[in-house]
Structure formats: structure tokens, C-alpha cells
Amino acid sequence: MNSQPTHLQPLSTQTKVSRFLMNWLLLTIVWIGFTGTFDLHELLTGIVVAGILSFMAIRIFTCCDLALLAPKKLFYLGKFIVVFLVALVKSNFDMARRVLSPALPINPGVVKFKSQLKSNFAKMVLANAITLTPGTLSIDVIDDTFYIHWIDVKSADPEVAFKEIAEDFENLLIKIF
Amino acid sequence: MNVIFLILILFLVGAIVTAFAGKWSSLLQDGLFILAVTIPAVLFFTQVEMNQLVGWTRGGIHLELGLTPFSYFFAILVLLLGVASAIYSVGFMHGKARKSYYYFNYLLTIMAMLGILFSRDFISFFVFWEIMTWASYLMVVMNGTRTQEIGIKYFVFSAIGAYAMLMAIVLIHAQTGNFLIQDFIDTYPSLAHGRQILIPILLLVGFSVKAAVMPLHVWAPGSYAYSPMSFTSVFSGALSKMGIYGMVIVFVTLLSHLPEGGLIRDIIAWMGAMTAVIATLWAIAQDDARKLLAYSSVGQLGYIVIAVAIGTPMAMLAGLFMAFMHGLFKGALFMVVGAVEKQTGTTDFTKVTGLIRKMPWTFLTALISIIALAGIPPLGGFIGKWMLYESLILSDHYLLVIVAFFSSTAAFLYAYKFLFGFFLGQEEEEWADVKEAPITMLIPMLALAVGSILLGAFPQLILKPINNGLISLGFSDSYGKLWETSTLFNEWGDKVVLQPIIYAIMGVFLTTLAFTYFRNRKRTRYVSTKDISTSGEIPLAHENLTFKENFFQPFLRAVEPVMKKQIDWYYREFGAGLEAIFNFTRRIYSGNGQTYALYAVIFLIVLLLLNGNLFGQ
């Protein structure tokens, strides 16, 4: 199946191969997840299918290349996940509180801030992380500007908002991507 | 190949070949056309033997063809008129459009009529009947846009008749398991009484349509009037007799076994009588020769129906003899009209006049045929009429005698009008250049006229085949010769009592005619309209001396109540009503798809509600 987002820049062969391998790896892992076994037939089929698929999807699947597998990046990735999970749990308790007693003072509003992240993928991860953390919901990202629905607006100032909402994540993400 | 089959095939092949021959040469086509009629006719009279059957099975249905003495009589009429009219057609159709079409349908019509007469089973009968119908239908609609309604009317009534017949046929099949006519006739006495009544009635409806019996006659005047005249002579002269043919068979073979047969006969006789009266009155009112003759035909057929429905031996004889005579003189008369139309371009009495000098031979034909029509003694028409009155009186149908006499008298009026309208009276500038009709048209006309004279003198020529036919049909086995009962004929054989007298009258008549004609030719004096010698008065310029217009106005005013609303009108109203209803029902198809879906759901629910009742345990 052909898939050509025309807005993408032509890629160098090296990047292509690197990305292809990365995709292959990731898709094989996903396949193993799907099948849930390491059965030989399944694994072989998975490798073949993932290979073909990553070859065909090379221009689409552009999040990352083999560089992601560098130990340092993996470490930050792990750290990011932990930070994220903690934030998630915190946010849930916060939400539970609000849900159970809606009388709590809220001050909803939409704030914006700018992010340093370059890749779209990283922005997406940041937006998702923000959505899952306490009291915030990503509404849109236009260029570098994030628009966030904040259930308890502490400050309309972009700088402050950035600090409150996204700084931790962004610092980690910059290191990963 | 059996000759019967061969005759039919020859007609069919002839029809197709003739139709296509026009592409190469008109003359060749004409020749082929004449041959296509005459060769089978010659074959018929020389090769076909009585009671010889040819049968085969088609689609599991056994079919049989053969000639019986009874159909032989009708075949004579069909072929005689068929050949005469064919020759006439060559002249008549010369230079007209759709000649191939005409020839094709003409030949098919003749073939179909012969086929009807040959059929020994109902399917062949019906098939040929229908071919006859649609071929003649195509003739009726041949002359352009204004004949369409007439054509549809003809077809609808034909269809009513044909389908009644078809219903009878399938009911017969349900009883006998086959379609053979003889088998049915044999089985008939043992049928359930309801079927014994239903089947003949259905068949009679079918035949009555072709015989133009009131109230199924409404198609006839228009169709006769608007077909090409060359065809109408066959149409009215022979084709309508197919109805008589079927009726006689039903009367003789079926109704005689039925207790209610007498009643049915009387009803039909009265229907015939009403037809005769009303059609005659209408004929009088016409100013167009074609229409006049058309109504006249219907009226004459009414007589014939009276006769065959009464069904005493003499009446039957009278009816069939009149049928034959009618074929001759009406065939000739339509040819006359055709000739006039061909030469003048119109058939309107109010326009055409004084043709006697321009078209003397045509006039002669008209004169002889009109005399035959009116039933004036020397010619064959008289014999039929005499026998009819005689048989009606002898069988105590006095009322019918009165009716028949009334309409017969009234027929003089239109006969006179016909003769006067075209040929006598003032000659007009407009028609100064009219020539006599071409020879190909004159010969058949005159031949038919001669036939009328001949049959007046030698009625046994045709009475014998009638006699044989009726006897073979099982009409009577006690009489050797059915005409014995008539006072008109002697007791010892086939001589007519009045024959010498008839010969004498005829001689005087012909001599006078010849004398008058030749004298006038020399001594004709043309007078201007201002010539006071005409009647002692000076006519004004605008006064029409020919009396063609409003000819019978006083008479018509007297009979107006009878003619006020034609039966036609009721049919038209009925048809319009039906169409309105149909137009309303088709609004079921509202155009809204959702409504259709709703129908489906309603239908489903109705079926569900009905469930047990609908499908039974």
C-alpha cells in the first residue's frame, strides 16, 4: 500500500535505513505483544510481516531512528515514564477529589505557552502527558504554542503556566528526542 | 406436403415475398401479388378433397386441418372475393403509399380466413382467427392518424370476442383434454349444464363481434369505412362472414342439444334485428359513401344473423344465401366507392355528383349491386329476402317480420341515395375531368356484379354447397334438399319455380338498360341551371338542385329518438370511466420511496396478522 504524505522532506538513505530498522524492531515488539508468545512460527511470521510493513511505511513512521536505543536516551525515557506515571496517579487523586466534591473552588480557563520542542512527535508526547496530568487538557498546538485548558488557572502568564504545567516533561523529552 | 398445408404456406410465403418484392419492382410486386392469391385459389378448387385431415402436434397440442362441405361454401366466397379484390387492389393501390404493407396484410387475411375454414381444432381456429384479426387491424389503421381510435376500437372489440372464444376454448379443453372440434361436439351433450350454457355463449360472443351484432357492432362502421376500399370489400364481404360461419356451427352443433337453445337463438335473432334497424337508419343518415356502405353492411349482417339464429332449414338457407350474396354485392359496392375515391379523391355525396357519364361501367356495377342489395326481384338479393320472410312467417316470428320489413324498406332509401349521390344529378365543373376507373379495377367489379345476376338466375349454384355443408354439419339428416320447403322453388329438384319469370324480368331490364344507355349517349342535352324547362321555375344560383344535402332530413327527424345516443357513446363513457379509475389506482405508486417501504411493512404485518388463515394447517 502506498502512503506518501507529500509534505515530507526527502530523507537520506542512511536515515531511511536507520528508521527502517527501528520500525522493524518496534513493530516486531508490537507483534510479540499481539501474539503474546515467543512461539517460533509466530515470531518468524512477525519478523517477516514487520519487516515488510516497516519497509512500506518508511515514509510515514518517522518518530525515531536507532539513536533512540542509546542507553542514555533509554534512561531518560524510563525516567519520563516514571515521572509521567506519578503525575498520572496524582492527577487521578486530584480528579477524584473534584469529582466527589464539586463544590471545590475551580477557576477554569485556557492558557497558552511556548515549547522548545522541535519534533512533532515530541510535541505530541508532551501534549498527551499534559492531558493526563492534574487539571490540564491540551486543546491545540499551533507551531510552538500550546493551548491548555486548565481547570484551576493559577496564572494566565505563559511563562508561569509553562513552569506549572510542562516544564518537567519538556526537559526530559528534549533529552530523548 | 398436404395441399391444405401447402395452400396456407403459399399464402404466407407469398405475403413475405410480395412485401419485399416492392424493393425491386412495383410491377413485379403486383404480379407476384396476383399470383400469390390465384395460385392457392386454383389449388384449392382443383386439389383439395373433402374431409381429408392433416394433423400434427405442436407443443403437446394436437392440431388438425381439413375441409368440410360447410367450410367449402365459405371458402368459395372467400376465394372469389379474395381474387376479385386482389385484382382490384392492384389498380386501387397503384401509386399509393404502403403498398407492400397492404399486400402483406391482404394475403395474411385471406390465408387466415382459409385457415379458419380449414381448422378442425380450436387452436388452429383461434390462431387463424387472431391472425385474421390483427392483419385486418393493420389494414384499418393503415390510413393515418385519424383512424387510430377506430383501429383501437376494432381491436378492443376483436379482443373481447377473441378472448371470450379463448375462454371457451380452454374450458372445452378442461372437459375433453384436447382441442379437437369434433371431440368437443361429441362430448358436449354430456357436459355439466352450466358449462353447456357458458361455452356456447362465450363462443357466440366471439363470433358476434366479427358478425357485428349489436351491441358488439360499434367497431364495424368505422373500420369498414376507413380501411382501404379494396380491402373493405373483403372485410365486409368475406371477413365478417367468419362470424356467421362460427355462429352457424354453434347453433347447429351445440344449441340444438340445449333446452335453453331456443331462447338464446331468439335473443340473438332479436339482437340481429335491432342491428339491422339501427344500422340501416344510420346508413341513411350518412353523407359519405364509405360510411353509408359500412352501416349498410352492419345492417345486412343483422339480417343474416336473424336468419341463422332462427335456424329453421329455410331460414338457415336464407341466411347463408344472403351471406354469399352480401359478399358479392357489398364487395362490388365498396369497389365502386373505391373507384370513385381513386378517380375523384373523395367519397362525399355532397361533393361528388353526376358521374354517370364519366364512369359508366362503375355506375353499372353500382346499379346492379344496389338492386341486389335492395332485394328487387331479378337478382339474387331477392331470393334471400324472400326465403327469410317466408321462414320467419312459417316459424311464427311475426314481430321479426315487421322489423325486417321495416329496415328492408328503409334500405331502399340509402340504396337510392347511393346511386343518386354519386352518379345521377347535376354534373359539376369540378368533376369534368374524371375518367373511368382503370381496367384492373373494372373487371373484378363487373365480375362481382355479374355474379349477383348469375345467382339470381341460378341460385342453385350456391344453394347446393350450402345444402351439402349444412347436412354435413349435422343440421338435418331428413332432408336431402333444404330449399324444398320454400315456395320459391319447385318440389322436384334444383329448379327454381320462378326461374323463367326471373329470366324474363332480367331480359327486359337489360334490354331497357342498354337501350336507355345508348340512346342517351347520342341525345344528351345539357341544360344550364337557369333553363326554365327544368321545372318551370328559375332556380337561384345558390339553390342546389341535386338534393344531396339533407336528403332524408324529414325522415331522420322522425326516427331521431332511436338514434339520439349511439351505443358508441356508452362504450366511450365506460372506457373513459375505466381509464379514470386506472389512473387513480396507479397513484399507489406515489413516487416516495418511503411510502413503498411502508407498503412492504404493512404487507408484512397484514400477512402476519392473517398467518394461520392464509396458509392453512
Binding site: - | 402436434t57 387452436i123 393515418g144 378442461a174 411510502t595 407498503y599 404487507f603 392453512g616
Partner: protein, 493 residues
């Protein structure tokens, strides 16, 4: 054996999937391949018909599982006769369209011919299959091809017609599924022969309910009143040859399904009366609605519906004679109506509105086409000696033999209406003056061949009905003999 019934489905499908590829090579392929396939199907069905004369019904097992486990195809005298008829008409429709569609773009042409081929295939599948649910699948194949073909002309009201068709078709398929599921839950099988065998065990109410749902569903395709609202629209808006194919092929298949279900699967006497009554109503309503139509194809459509009503009446009589008559009617109607649609399309060729008045005077400009239309008109109203007469006679005889005198009378009376509206058109063709703004279009040579071959059949069968009556009789025998059907199929296991 020269082939097997499964090829009736396999080969067209193979071709259908192949055509888009071949079209990339040479555009003409999209027209040629369907023709070849249809011709192949015709040859196949003729040779199988000959084969079964001596070897008896073919029961073709699919996926190696004998009935009732697997799906099976049954090529019997009954289904075989219909298959031959359908493939023959399919081929003619193709022939007729082959050049007629030359002026349209490549893409529409490709779609047209693929859909046409699959519509024929689906109809053949409906007739051949011995499995109830498989029949449903084939019905859907036919329906969807029908929707696509109906809306072929983009600038007309064809989408409206197709939408109505689709709406009714969707209702039908839902009802059909309900009916099939009721049967399945009661008998545990979908094989028609086994259903027939077990039917006596089925609870009476369930039997009736299932039959009702199935009858309503199939009634939509079979154009029974009041489920036929879509039909006139579709016939009017679809391309002429497609109208012919709808009335000659699709509806025949639906009637087959209807009949196979009532005659073979169910043992309910009342179902015959249902056929009789509904057939009669359909016949009367359709013929009377046809009388006042202003559009030629719409008139032909109502006439078609009416004829299908007649066939249902004949089936409803329930005797062997009735079945014989019904099959004969279906056969002759398929041929004649195709002839009428073929020739009629040319008589009103240049107008999108296709009013009857546009045929005025065409007899002069298109003599052969006009003659063929007239022949068709005469034949369809049952004038002898054309083909339609024999079938009508068979129907009337069958009715009379079963003492249904009133029925005979009603049919005949309504037939007069039919005669009237056809003759009006014929009169216009030959005796009216051409309208100034109509432009006669000469039929292509292919169309002419298709029409002439149909006309030849009408004439030849008219004079020599024995050519088909033997086949039809065997088919009728086959349909009536339920025990043999069950035996033949279930013994294949």
C-alpha cells in the same frame, strides 16, 4: 462432463477481478472479457443441459463437504433451463450494449460491464444454489449490481430510482435474514433439501412466520404487489439493456427463488393460494397502471410486473400444468420483453425523458426496429402465432383445468387492457407524424443482431413451440417432484 456448475460462479468472478488489471493493458478488454465470459457461461449451460438429459441432475459439492454440511449447487432440468435462458439473455444484453456504450468513458464502461456480468452471475447463482443463506448472498450480489447499473446515467433521475430500489432491497434483505434465522433455529440446517425434508417437524407457527418473512423479502425482487414500487422507476431510469436484463434475468431468478421455496421447502397448501391471489392483484394493478403511462420504458415496466403476476398466478394454480404454464410464461416473457426493451430504447433513443410520444412516426425512420417492436408487442399480448400466445394458452388451460373459470375471465379481461396500451404505441410508431425535435438513431449492428435473434426466437417458437416445450415440461416435472430433489441432493453426502 464438460464442466461443472461451480464454473458459472468461479469463472465470472475470476474475470471480474481480472478485468480491472486487463483494462490497464488494453481498454477494450473491459468490454470483451465480459462477453467472452457470458458466452462461455452459455456454452457451459447448454452442454450441461445436454449432459443432464442422459445423466440426471448434477449436484455439485463445494469445499468437499457433501450436503447438508457444505454448500451445493444443483443443476437440474428446472434450474438448468433457467440458467440457459439467463446466460443467453445476458450474452444478448452484452452484445446489445457492446457498442452502444462505446461513447462513454473507460471508467463507466468498465463498471457497466463488470456489474452486468456479475448481475447475471448472481442470478445464475440464485438459481443454482441449494443453500438458503447462499441464496441470500447471491440475491445481494444481484441487488447491488442492480443499484449500480440503475444509476448508471449520471444526469438522469436514476439515483432516485436506485435509491428506492435500494431502500426496498434493504428491507427485503433484513426480512430474509429473519426468515432464514427462524428456519435455522428450528431445523439446524440451511440446506434447502434438508430443510424440505425436516419441514414436517417444524412448529406450525414458526413455519408460517418464516415463510411470511421470506415471501415478503423475495417478493421485492420478484416484483409482487405491493412490494414493487421500485420497479417502474428502475426500469425507466436504467439503461435500456439493463431494463431488459432486470426483467429477463433478475426477476426470473427471484421468481425461481420464490417458487423453489414454496414448492420444495415448505409443505403449506395455503402458499399456493397466496401466490394465486397476490399474482392476480399484481397482474391487475400493474396492467391497469400501465394503461396511462406517458413514458415508454415505464409502460414496459408495468407490463413486466404484470407478466410476473401472471407467472405467479400460474405457479399458484399448483398443478403440473400450472407450473408448465408458469415456466413457459417466464421464458417467453424474458425473450419478448428483452426484445421490447432493446427495440424500444432505440425508438426513444435521443430523449432522456423517453416519452411514448417520441416514438411517433419512427416506423418510417427505423423500419426494422419498429417492426421488431411491433412483433414484440403482438407477442407479449399473446397474439398468435407468436410465442406469447402459447404460454398464455398454457396458463389459461391450466386455470381452466383446475376449474378456475373466474380466473380465466379476469386474466382475459385484463389482457384487453394490455392489448390497448401496446397497440397505442404501435399506432404511434407507424401512423403518427414524427415530432420535429426527435432525431432517430440507427441501431448499431450488434444491437441489431441481438434484436433479430430475439425476434427469430419469438417467431420460431411461435411456429414451432416444441423446441422448448419439451425442456419446459421436464423442468416442470423436476420442480413438482420434491421427493426426488431431496433424494438427489441428500444422497450426495
Amino acid at each position: 462432463m464438460v464442466g461443472s456448475p461451480v464454473l458459472f460462479v468461479a469463472i465470472p468472478l475470476l474475470a471480474a477481478f481480472l478485468i480491472p488489471l486487463m483494462g490497464m493493458i488494453w481498454k477494450e478488454f473491459v468490454r470483451i472479457i465480459p462477453g467472452l465470459v457470458l458466452a462461455y457461461m452459455l456454452v457451459l449451460s447448454v452442454s450441461l443441459i445436454i449432459y443432464i438429459q442422459s445423466h440426471g441432475t448434477i449436484v455439485e459439492v463445494i469445499s468437499g463437504w457433501g450436503p447438508p454440511v457444505g454448500i451445493n449447487l444443483v443443476f437440474s432440468p428446472f434450474s438448468g433451463a433457467l440458467t440457459t435462458l439467463m446466460t443467453f439473455l445476458g450474452l444478448l444484453v452484452w452484445l446489445y450494449s457492446h457498442k452502444f456504450k462505446r461513447n462513454v468513458d473507460y471508467e463507466p464502461a468498465k463498471k457497466y460491464f463488470i456489474l452486468l456480468m456479475l448481475m447475471v452471475t448472481g442470478s445464475v447463482g440464485m438459481v443454482l444454489t441449494g443453500d438458503l443463506f447462499n441464496m441470500f448472498v447471491f440475491i445481494e450480489i444481484v441487488s447491488i449490481s442492480g443499484y449500480g447499473l440503475t444509476s448508471f446515467f449520471v444526469r438522469r433521475d436514476s439515483a432516485e430510482a436506485a435509491f428506492k430500489f435500494l431502500l426496498m432491497g434493504a428491507f427485503a434483505s433484513s426480512f430474509l435474514l429473519i426468515g432464514i434465522m427462524i428456519i435455522y433455529t428450528q431445523l439446524g440446517t440451511l440446506n434447502m433439501a434438508e430443510i424440505a425434508q425436516r419441514m414436517p417437524q417444524m412448529d406450525y407457527h414458526m413455519k408460517v412466520f418464516s415463510l411470511i418473512f421470506i415471501l415478503v423479502a423475495i417478493g421485492v425482487e420478484a416484483e409482487t404487489f405491493p412490494l414493487n414500487g421500485w420497479a417502474p422507476d428502475v426500469y425507466t431510469q436504467a439503461p435500456g439493456p439493463i431494463s431488459a436484463a432486470m426483467s429477463g434475468i433478475v426477476v426470473k431468478a427471484a421468481v425461481y427463488a420464490n417458487i423453489r421455496i414454496i414448492y420444495t421447502m415448505y409443505d403449506l397448501q395455503g402458499a399456493y393460494e397466496y401466490l394465486l391471489i397476490i399474482g392476480l392483484i399484481t397482474f391487475i394493478v400493474a396492467e391497469t397502471a400501465a394503461l396511462k403511462q406517458e413514458r415508454l420504458k415505464r409502460m414496459l415496466a408495468y407490463s413486466s410486473i404484470g407478466q410476473m403476476g401472471l407467472a405467479m398466478i400460474a405457479f399458484g394454480i399448483g398443478t403440473k400444468e400450472g407450473v408448465y404454464a408458469a415456466l413457459f410464461l417466464m421464458f417467453s416473457h424474458a425473450i419478448i420483453k428483452s426484445l421490447l426493451f432493446f427495440s424500444g430504447s432505440y425508438l426513444v433513443y435521443n430523449k432522456t425523458s423517453k416519452y411514448i410520444k417520441h416514438v411517433n412516426g419512427m416506423g418510417k425512420y427505423l423500419p426494422i426496429t419498429a417492426f421488431l417492436f411491433t412483433l414484440g408487442a403482438f407477442a407479449i399480448i399473446g397474439l398468435p402465432p407468436f410465442m406469447g400466445f402459447w404460454s398464455k394458452l398454457a396458463l389459461l388451460s391450466a386455470a381452466a383445468d383446475s376449474n378456475l373459470v373466474i380466473l380465466v375471465a379476469v386474466i382475459l379481461v385484463v389482457s384487453i387492457v394490455e392489448a390497448v396500451y401496446y397497440l397505442r404505441v404501435v399506432n404511434r410508431i407507424f401512423f403518427f407524424k414524427k415530432r420535429a425535435n426527435t432525431k432517430p438513431e440507427k441501431p448499431t449492428i450488434n444491437a441489431m443482431i441481438a434484436m433479430l435473434s430475439l425476434a427469430a426466437i419469438v417467431l420460431v417458437i411461435g411456429f414451432y413451440p416444441d423446441l422448448v416445450t419439451g425442456l419446459i415440461e421436464r423442468a416442470a416435472d423436476d420442480l413438482m417432484d420434491k421427493g426426488r430433489y431431496i433424494g438427489e441432493i441428500l444422497s450426495k453426502n
